[in-house]
C-alpha cells in the first residue's frame, strides 16, 4: 500500500475524471492522474512513467527509476501482491451486479 508500483501511462481514458490507463508489468489498470497533472494538457501524460499508489499516479519518475523500483518490489514479493490486488479488485467489480450483491 505504501510502496506503490511503477506504471507507464498508455492512454487517457476519461479526461473529465482525470483517469488514464497505465501498464503495470503488462497488466492494465485505470488510475487517477490528478496528482501529476501540471500546466500541461492531459494528453502529454501518455508515455510518462509514474509511481502508482492505490490507483493514483502520485509522482513522475524516469524509466530507470521505474525499472529499479520494480526490481526491489519483485525482491520483496510485493510487485506480485500489488498486481494480484489490482486483478482481484477488477474481478470483484466484474462480478458485481446489483442482483449479485443482494
Amino acid at each position: 500500500m505504501c510502496l506503490g508500483i511503477p506504471g507507464l501511462i498508455v492512454e487517457i481514458s476519461d479526461a473529465d475524471r482525470k483517469l488514464a490507463v497505465v501498464d503495470v508489468s503488462g497488466v492494465r489498470r485505470e488510475v487517477n492522474v490528478a496528482p501529476i497533472i501540471e500546466d500541461d494538457a492531459m494528453e502529454d501524460l501518455v508515455g510518462v512513467w509514474t509511481l502508482v499508489h492505490v490507483g493514483f499516479a502520485m509522482s513522475r519518475i524516469d524509466e530507470e527509476e521505474a525499472a529499479k523500483t520494480l526490481e526491489v518490489l519483485r525482491m520483496f514479493g510485493e510487485a506480485q501482491e500489488e498486481i494480484d490486488a489490482m486483478m482481484a479488485s477488477e474481478a470483484m467489480l466484474a462480478g458485481d451486479t446489483p442482483e449479485a450483491a443482494e
Binding site: 505504501c2 475524471r17 485505470e30 490528478a34 496528482p35 499508489h53 492505490v54 519518475i61 446489483p98 450483491a101
Partner: protein, 379 residues
C-alpha cells in the same frame, strides 16, 4: 558480507558499508553503546530485514523500527468501530486487503465477513466509488487507512463523489500523519534516538519541510530515503556524517522522486477535505495529539462517522492489548520482536495476535519472514 551479493551493485554496497564502519568507529559507537537510528517507515523495515542490513552494518548501529506501518498502529477500538459499521443493514464495506486480518476486540474484518457482513477487498478507493455508482440502493463505505502517501487518494475520491453528487458513498476515515508520533517518541524520556531515516513516499507528498522540527527543536539528523538497499545504506551514512560533524539537518537522499516541496495537487486536495482531529489512538503508543485526520464539515455527507453515528470513541477508548502481547514495547524499540513471548508461538503471520505481525511492513512479520530463516540457518 555474504549478503552483499544480493545487491544490484555489490561493489557500491561494499564501499558504503566500509565507510559506515569507519564513521561508526570514529564516533566511538559500539555494541554496548550503540547509536539508535530509527527507520520510520514500514517499507524501510521490510527492506532492512530483506537485505539483512541490520547484520551487515556494524554492531555500533542499532535500528529501531518506527511506527510507520498504518495497519500495525490501527487500534483495536477502531477495528471494532469499523466492524460496527459493516454490520449496518445495506452496507458494503470496502477495505484494502492488509486491514482484513487486524484483530479487534470482538473480531477482525475477515471474521465479520465470514459472519455474513458484505466486505469487499479493493485495490483502490476508485473501485469503492465504482461500486457505489453500480449499487445506488446500497451504502458503500470505504475504510480509509494510511499515512500521507494514501491520504490524498481518499481526498480525491471524496471530491469526485461530491462532484458527481453520489449519495451512497462515505469514507470511514482513519488517515494518520507521520510527524506527530515522531514528536511523541522524541518527547518520551525513555527513548534514546540519535537520528532518523525518513519515509520517502510520505515526503513525495508532503515534502521535507514537515521534519524541520526534528533538526531544529530536537537537534537530531533526519535523511529522507529511497527504498533500494543502496538508498538505505547511503542514507544511514548521511545520518552518521551529520552525527560525526555535530550537525542536525533535514537532508533528502531521494531527490529523484521527492521534490523538497512535495506534491502541490495532493496537498491542496487534503487541505480541502480533511482537518486534524484533536487526538487519535495509535496501537502500542496510546493517544497522540493532532495525529489523525477527519473529514471537514463541508464534506459531512461523505463521512461514515457522521452518517452512521459511529464516531471516534464510539466503542470506548484505549482497549487493553491481549495478554502477553508486547507490540508497544517493540514499537518503541524497548525490545526486539524475538523477545516477545508470543512471537512465533501464539503470534504468527497466519494467526496474528498483535498488529505488527499482520502486514509485511510490520517489524514482527518482517522478523518472522527473514529473521527466522536466518536464525535457523545459523543454528
Amino acid at each position: 558480507m555474504k549478503y552483499a551479493d544480493e545487491f544490484r551493485d555489490p561493489v557500491a554496497a561494499r564501499g558504503l558499508l566500509a565507510k559506515i564502519e569507519a564513521i561508526t568507529d570514529a564516533i566511538g559507537a559500539t555494541a554496548d553503546k550503540p547509536l539508535h537510528i530509527m527507520e520510520i517507515c514500514g517499507g524501510h523495515t521490510h527492506a532492512i530485514f530483506r537485505y539483512g542490513l541490520d547484520k551487515l552494518t556494524p554492531p555500533g548501529i542499532e535500528f529501531i523500527h518506527g511506527p510507520g506501518c498504518p495497519v500495525c498502529v490501527l487500534p483495536m477500538s477502531r477495528v471494532d468501530e469499523c466492524v460496527q459499521i459493516a454490520e449496518q443493514p445495506g452496507v458494503i464495506l470496502c477495505t484494502f486487503g492488509d486491514a482484513m486480518r487486524v484483530p479487534g476486540t470482538r473480531k477482525s474484518l475477515m471474521q465479520a465477513k465470514a459472519d455474513g457482513c458484505d466486505i469487499r477487498m479493493v485495490y483502490s478507493p476508485l473501485d469503492a466509488l465504482e461500486l457505489a455508482r453500480r449499487n445506488p440502493a446500497r451504502e458503500v463505505v470505504f475504510f480509509g487507512l494510511g499515512f500521507e502517501t494514501t491520504t490524498p487518494s481518499t481526498a480525491f475520491s471524496i471530491q469526485q463523489a461530491a462532484s458527481e453528487g453520489l449519495e451512497n458513498f462515505t469514507v470511514f476515515c482513519n488517515h494518520i500523519t507521520v510527524p506527530p508520533p515522531i514528536k511523541a517518541l522524541l518527547d518520551d524520556p525513555e527513548m534514546r534516538l540519535d537520528g532518523f531515516v525518513g519515509p520517502g513516499h510520505v515526503s513525495m507528498v508532503i515534502g521535507v519541510r514537515p521534519y524541520d522540527f526534528i533538526a531544529r527543536d530536537y537537534g537530531k539528523p533526519i535523511v529522507v530515503a529511497g527504498f533500494e538497499p543502496l538508498d538505505l545504506l547511503q542514507s544511514v551514512l548521511m545520518v552518521l556524517e551529520q552525527i560525526r560533524d555535530g550537525r542536525a539537518e533535514v537532508e533528502n537522499q531521494y531527490a529523484r522522486v521527492v521534490p523538497d516541496e512535495g506534491n502541490p495537487a495532493s496537498i491542496a486536495a487534503c487541505d480541502d477535505v480533511y482537518e486534524k482531529r484533536d487526538r487519535f489512538e495509535w496501537r502500542g503508543l496510546g493517544e497522540i495529539d493532532a495525529s489523525g485526520l477527519k473529514i471537514r464539515e463541508k464534506y459531512a455527507a461523505f463521512d461514515a462517522e457522521r452518517k452512521f453515528g459511529i464516531g471516534y470513541g464510539a466503542s470506548g477508548r484505549s482497549v487493553e492489548e491481549p495478554e502477553g502481547c508486547r507490540c508497544g514495547d517493540v514499537m518503541t524499540g524497548r525490545i526486539k520482536p524475538l523477545q516477545c513471548p508470543q512471537f512465533g508461538a501464539g503470534c504468527t503471520p497466519e494467526t496474528p495476535l498483535g498488529a505488527l505481525m499482520v502486514s509485511s511492513e510490520g517489524a514482527c512479520a518482517a522478523y518472522y519472514q527473514y529473521g527466522g530463516a536466518r536464525l535457523e540457518a545459523a543454528q
